[in-house]
């Protein structure tokens, strides 16, 4: 009964979304306030209906109602409660319901908080947002109905793929979708602006916080996925340049560029056309990501079995919105009024450089990801483009971006002074030089580029710290004055400094773990000892045990360092009951120096076990860096200047502080 109500609610949501798509749009065209006013209640109504459908599906999962095909396929009565709930979006159908749920939350947010938007803009935005909803609701109802019943109802379910039964992965899809779908706001605003033929600073002030929120969620979502891949897949790596990973990374790059260009538009009314284009591209790349993952068209280590029919539907949605958005852009972009002018060396100029580098790098990732598809459809040759391609193209493009990063915030708007900024950055440069000398002195082996990479990471971090300190006139003003200035710095400045610091930390972690990883693959018999990066590991053998829904073989390693006991690690091989699938659980010891990572392999005929042992130096910095970026985004979001409807006066005041 609940399930049928859920299904019915989803159908009603489609009807409401259709109304919301058509009526406010016509209202905005005919300047009819009554028609435009339909948008808000429709958006709220759509949200309520999708929430009802989502809860109905969750109810079926929590109560293990195996008469629902989706629950039967993906759940099991013995599964822990967390994974019953997370199981709702751990499959194709449920994850699409989650997608639509987040979409309608964003739509309702415009209806709730958008009261200070011009009426026609609000109506158009709601209409565009609803059109995306219509497309995806149709997709769910026509090709991926989560509410289909089975008769007779099976006794128990088939279970969730065991490698998905993991806390980090439970929250990975919601964050990722918040990011993907969050860019739909920027897209709707861009299309609405093109329909109206005008954009202004108020437009950018609206788009920026939503883009920031989406960007934060995407950042943490990607980081969670990478962290999960690191400890769950047992390969000791954290990023594979795999098509599915790239699918989430491309919108992140475009979104990061959008975040920075919207800043220029808000502050200086420049880069309007470009910002609108980026907003369309960021969401298009999100749709492309959805298509690549949902169609399974590319060979990926993260692929799950999928149905090609659905891929075609998502492809059609993507072509419709990307094509439609770009066509509208081509037709109407000329009508957007050009804004403030600036010298090439200026804050605006540095943000343009940021944008060019970010979008170019996104393009190289796109080419590398899609080239195998293109080549196969033209010549029939099957190829794969792997890590060497991406390291060889993406890496060199990131280099100038990272070098230039500390300069950007120190340049003035309109016309900047590179020499002045350089002088201010001498301490940061000194820090980088010290890092270079220390790493060269400490490391005996490893690629010669690695110390430079580490120095680059330190340069970015030190530059990020310098920025607020310089603004507070540290060193040139008395301490009380510095304290007062630090306290008065707008939160957005703290936020961006933190986010930039996070990037630096991440770069340090990436370089250290890529260049100085230790890997040992050996066969060990119980009692055998081995040295890994200064740790001594003694293998104690393997013993069987039983978990809630799996049985496992657990190996034991006693870890000592210089004779002193450090820890014991328990890597295991699990066999889940439902579905009967083996997984590898790595045994990991983490310290600030890095992670000791152990994986138990197959038993050998001679009584030994194949084991893989890694030491990954500073690998935690990668995810801590991402977390700091997320927090930085949050602090920036809490800035009252970004708060929607903040009085214009307060804004003027704080820009005056920032411009000093």
């Amino acid at each position: 009964m609940v399930i049928e109500l859920g299904h019915f609610a989803l159908i009603l949501a489609l009807v409401v979304a259709m109304v919301q798509m058509v009526v406010p749009f016509l209202g905005a065209r005919w300047r009819d306030t009554r028609l435009m006013a339909v948008g808000e209640p429709a958006a709220m109504c759509q949200l309520l209906l999708v929430v009802a459908a989502f809860l109905a599906l969750m109810h079926a999962y929590v109560t293990s109602d195996f008469s629902v095909a989706n629950v039967y396929q993906n759940s099991h009565s013995t599964k822990p409660m967390l994974y019953k709930i997370a199981g709702v979006w751990g499959n194709h159908e449920g994850s699409m319901v989650l997608w639509v749920l987040i979409l309608s939350i964003f739509g309702a947010a415009v209806a709730l908080f958008g009261t200070n938007l011009p009426a026609t803009l609000r109506a158009n935005v709601l209409s565009v947002q609803a059109s995306i909803g219509v497309a995806f609701l149709l997709f769910i109802l026509l090709t991926s109905n989560p509410f289909a019943r089975l008769s007779p109802a099976p006794f128990d379910g088939k279970g969730l793929n065991p490698i998905l039964q993991d806390p980090a992965l439970s929250f990975h899809p919601p964050f990722l979708y918040m990011g993907y779908v969050g860019f739909s706001m920027a897209f709707s605003f861009a299309v609405a602006a093109l329909i109206e033929g005008r954009t202004d600073a108020a437009w950018a002030r609206w788009v920026r916080p939503w883009t920031l929120l989406a960007w934060m969620c995407l950042t943490i979502g990607i980081a969670m996925g990478s962290w999960w891949a690191y400890y769950e897949l047992g390969w000791g790596g954290w990023w594979f340049w795999d098509p599915v990973e790239n699918a989430s990374f491309m919108p992140w790059l475009a979104g990061t560029a959008l975040l920075h260009s919207a800043l220029v538009m808000e502050k200086r009314e420049a880069l309007k056309v470009w910002t609108v284009l980026l907003a369309i591209l960021a969401f298009s790349l999100s749709l492309l990501g959805t298509f690549l993952v949902r169609s399974g068209i590319l060979s990926s280590v993260h692929s799950f079995a999928v149905d090609p029919e659905r891929g075609l539907f998502v492809l059609a949605i993507m072509v419709l919105f990307t094509g439609g958005g770009l066509a509208l852009f081509a037709a109407r972009a000329g009508s957007l009024r050009q804004g403030g002018i600036f010298a090439p060396v200026s804050r605006e100029g540095s943000l343009v450089l940021n944008n060019i580098l970010l979008t170019t790098s996104a393009a190289t990732v796109l080419i590398g990801t899609l080239y195998p598809l293109l080549l196969e459809s033209v010549t029939g040759e099957k190829i794969s483009v792997g890590a060497p391609y991406f390291n060889g193209t993406f890496g060199p493009l990131m280099l100038p971006l990272l070098i230039a990063m500390p300069f950007g915030p120190l340049l003035a708007w309109k016309r900047g002074d590179v020499k002045g900024a350089m002088n201010k950055l001498v301490p940061a440069l000194a820090a980088a030089a010290v890092a270079l000398i220390v790493t060269v002195a400490l490391t005996v082996q490893g690629p010669w580029l690695a110390p430079l990479g580490l120095a680059l990471g330190v340069w970015v971090m030190a530059g990020a710290i310098s920025e607020p300190l310089l603004r507070a006139k540290l060193g040139s003003a008395p301490w009380d004055e510095v304290r007062r200035r630090l306290a008065n710095l707008p939160r957005a400045s703290w936020g961006s400094a933190l986010a930039h610091f996070g990037i630096g930390l991440m770069v340090t972690g990436i370089v250290a773990t890529s260049a100085y990883q230790t890997e040992r693959i050996v066969v060990m018999k119980p009692g055998a000892k081995i040295d890994v990066a200064g740790f001594e590991l003694q293998f104690r053998g393997v013993s069987p045990s039983k978990g809630p829904n799996f049985s496992e073989q657990t190996g034991t390693f006693d870890v000592t360092r210089g004779g002193a006991s450090v820890t014991s690690l328990y890597p295991s091989k699990r066999l889940y009951d439902a579905p009967p699938q083996p997984t590898t659980e790595a045994g990991i010891f983490n310290s600030w120096r890095g992670d000791l990572y152990t994986v138990l392999g197959d038993p050998q005929p001679d009584g030994g076990f194949a084991v893989r042992l890694y030491f990954n130096p500073l690998v935690r910095f990668i995810w801590i860096g991402a977390l700091i970026m997320f927090i930085g985004g949050g602090i920036s979001l809490s800035d009252r200047r970004l708060r929607v409807g903040a009085p214009a006066q307060a804004r003027k005041m704080s820009t005056a502080v920032a411009a000093e």
Binding site: N70, Y72, Q73, N74, N91, H92, S144, N161, L233, I297, L298, S299, V301, H302, S303, F304, A305, V306, D307, P308, I341, A343, P344, G349, V352, L353, I356, L357, T360, S361, A363, T364, G368, Y371, K382, I383, S384, V385, G386, P388, Y389, G392, T393, P396, L397, I521, V522, V523, K573, Q581, P582, T584, V599, G601, D602, Q604, P605, A610, V611, R612
Partner: protein, 154 residues
């Protein structure tokens, strides 16, 4: 600086960065692309010694032999032809006889494929699209587990 010069500087730097990227992409494509072949492909056309490529197919039943240490050998087949493969390392969880597999490495003059990686998968029913397609093209009936499942996914 006039407005025109400013715009020129902007466009100039954009073009410079784009051409740099284009050069990087072309160079990377020259070296970093790995072709995919089936055992029959290898029998039909000569592949230059020492070229890295991916070999995909099914792990032939009864062919997996463990050697000394972590060495393992098995045969990858598309049911018409089989290629012996050696690999040193730990095999992924879902590696099994009769299942689809993709390995990456080089072919020796003796006709043995020395793999340095065996690709992992997340899902028992998942078959890399290249393998599924080439097997289908050769008329191989896929096992129940390997077929694209109907509605309901994995």
């Amino acid at each position: 600086m006039t407005r025109k010069q400013r715009r020129g500087a902007l466009i100039g730097s954009a073009v410079a960065i784009l051409s740099l990227a284009a050069i990087l992409v072309l160079f990377a494509f020259k070296d970093a692309i790995v072709f995919f072949h089936t055992p029959s492909d290898i029998a039909e056309r000569k592949i230059a010694d020492g070229t890295r490529f991916r070999l995909g197919g099914l792990v032939e039943a009864g062919s997996v032999k463990r050697g000394e240490g972590t060495k393992v050998s098995f045969t990858v087949t598309d049911t018409l032809k089989g290629i012996p493969v050696t690999y040193e390392g730990v095999l992924p969880d879902l590696f099994r006889e009769g299942q689809g597999v993709v390995t990456e490495g080089k072919l020796t003059t003796a006709g043995i494929f020395v793999a340095d990686s065996v690709l992992a998968k997340h899902d028992e029913n998942y078959m890399p699209p290249e393998v599924a397609k080439s097997l289908k093209a050769r008329g191989v009936k896929l096992g129940a587990g390997a077929e694209m499942p109907p509605q309901g996914g994995n």
